[in-house]
Symmetry: C2
Subunit: 191 residues, 2 copies
């Protein structure tokens, strides 16, 4: 009965990985750290989308493969397709939901490109006219925020600021778990 076998296979897959409401209720690894279920707002079979501790702009989110993989080239062909299909879905719904007009999508792939967490992640940032004085200043802030994320996770004190942009970043306060959960709950309704 090949059809039944097929159905069972689908059920098994679905129980393991499907993007169902309950599937959000699990923690994920983000490099050596944990992204709590409350911070995850969308999932696909091989990837998950989550909110940020210190978003650069409203709706600045991250997408990672479920498997802990450091570099983009280490992703399997299925993971590449899966993460970018999820990124496309998240992008379009986020932009519409937040009334943005453009998006920055970027991977800092490796330490010399500014990657701080050793786990592939796509930054998605809804953009609006004039959101940054210089359009690409946003990347400086992404990098400063990434470094700060690691520092906070490691429980270190913030270093002395050495530039205006890091000053600007330091003014942003880490969000509470409740604030992050509230944003994730809001975004979860889009999926």
């Amino acid at each position: 009965m090949p059809l039944l076998i097929g159905n069972w296979w689908v059920l098994l897959q679905s129980g393991r990985h499907a993007s169902s409401p309950t599937d959000h209720m699990q923690d994920h690894k983000f490099g050596p750290w944990t992204v709590h279920a409350s911070e995850v707002f969308a999932t696909s079979s091989l990837s998950f989308a989550f909110v940020n501790l210190k978003p650069i702009v409203r709706g600045h989110v991250l997408i990672s493969p479920r498997r802990v993989v450091n570099r983009f080239t280490e992703l399997t062909s299925d993971e590449v397709a899966d993460i970018w299909h999820l990124a496309q879905k998240v992008s379009s719904r986020l932009e519409a939901h937040l009334g943005a007009s453009s998006l920055t999508l970027t991977i800092q792939d490796g330490p010399q490109a500014g990657q701080t967490v050793p786990h592939v992640h796509i930054h998605i940032l809804p953009r609006r006219a004039g959101d940054f004085e210089k359009n690409d200043e946003i990347y400086d802030v992404i990098e400063a925020a990434s470094k700060e994320f690691v520092r906070e996770k490691q429980g270190e004190a913030a270093p002395q600021n050495s530039s205006q942009k890091v000053d600007a970043d330091a003014e942003r306060k880490s969000r509470t778990p409740q604030e992050m959960a509230a944003e994730a709950a809001e975004l979860r309704t889009l999926f």
Copy 2:
């Protein structure tokens, strides 16, 4: 004879889109402009990879879908998978070939994100320690270079420089068609 029909279909597809040596010998549309065959160094069924008029770093290349599509969300599911599979292949071979240690992969998706050519394109930039004084300064230069590309294609004179970074960019000279063809020929050997 389903097998024969299948083979014919494959042959037809292959004649139209395969990544064969001769397939590089065709021009592609890049928004309203043409990327000449000599500038293309890798192709897949739905995408093509090409060299830059003014690369920011050695090996700064672009990848676009063959179909002229403005925004990332407009790509079909097949196009999303195809362009990122090609990007992954290009990334790993480029990094190894040029002895780089990281990569910046980015899409400026829409004008408010710095997109100047209305045709989806992934920037891939091999990165090395210390290649830019501030790691993410590279994005400012990407944007300045994108604007310059459009200006040159439109045959306009370069404007007065208004910032140090645009000054730095203005020092870079547009490459000749011969220089671009030579780089594409070098990179083509990797595929």
